[in-house]
Symmetry: C2
Subunit: 193 residues, 2 copies
């Protein structure tokens, strides 16, 4: 009920959406499949008809999350067509907005923290998706005309990742509050080189 997302769509979609939301809020090990199916307005058997296992469901959720993030990047291109530097600033702005709106951080990073078994099937998916996101940010920095594009992209990545996890430890008033300021002055200093 608390997490109910029971609009009338097909069970598989409802399960996927509900699971994403609940994994995000309560963690992967903090949510059982029974709770997911109940919140999705269906039942366990239907879940297991559409997903091989809970691990499989987790992986599909991560892919869905990454797809959502990808759509945000499309927005940048749509809003500032061809202007890569403006898109980079939009990335900073959007990251900051998401930080303010939600304090549970990045699903992929959180999953990596929770799923400690080195051979867990989700781990290679996490790595894949994170590497793809890194490539995107590096490309954006390079196309924005920045010399040391990889270094800037990696620094921005660490800052954002750090801000998201810091929020979960000390809250929004901690170091993460200065994210935009840090990111912008970083971009400025890279552009000046």
């Amino acid at each position: 009920m608390t997490d109910g997302v029971a609009e009338r769509s097909r069970p598989r979609d409802r399960i996927l959406e509900t699971a994403q939301d609940m994994f995000h809020k309560h963690g992967i090990k903090g949510v059982g499949v029974d709770a997911i199916t109940e919140a999705a307005g269906t039942n366990k058997m239907t879940l297991y008809r559409h997903f091989e296992s809970k691990d499989d469901l987790v992986i599909e959720c991560l892919r869905a999350t990454a797809a959502k993030a990808s759509r945000i990047w499309d927005e940048f291109e749509a809003r500032h067509p061809g202007d890569k530097l403006a898109q980079l600033h939009a990335w900073v702005q959007k990251a900051s907005e998401l930080l303010s709106a939600d304090s549970r951080g990045c699903d992929m990073a959180n999953a990596a923290v929770e799923l400690t078994e080195t051979d867990h099937p989700a781990r290679r998916v996490i790595k894949e998706l994170k590497e793809a996101q890194r490539e995107k940010l590096v490309a954006l920095c390079r196309d924005a005309g920045i010399g040391q594009a990889e270094l800037l992209a990696d620094t921005l990545s660490l800052l954002l990742e750090g801000a998201r996890v810091s929020m979960q430890s000390v809250g929004a008033e901690g170091p993460s509050a200065q994210f935009v300021r840090m990111a912008e002055s970083l971009i400025a200093s890279f552009r000046a080189r």
Copy 2:
């Protein structure tokens, strides 16, 4: 057996040390009290005679971890007495060494990710300890003669936190590989202001 740390000391100490190690490696929800006591060469009843609950044990482990970190800071002062700038560089160096030696990141941050209940007793302890660490780093930056000490300290914090979580998602060859370079050029640019 795998995690056995069964030197002959008092059971409480063995439990605490073993639990720290196992929580760190496998996560909090990934380890049961039975496994801890077995690895510590004792039994469940003894654990519950020394700790009120698993949550209580978790809190004691976090405090022990913070105490260990505190001892590292004492090393900085011992090795570079009075020279705060040298201590700041030592901090960067040490952080990098710990990143290379261990890929499971910060126990407190990991615990914050795992323990999602907002009223979990460990959460206020995590916040306390993290805030104390922040104070220390701010003071170090200030005493090293840096103008915007808070901003530098917070930026370094986010970079390190990000590096630790990034290692868990994409491994040591990802963005975290550039941590020292990022931190040092950051310090240099703050000193130049």
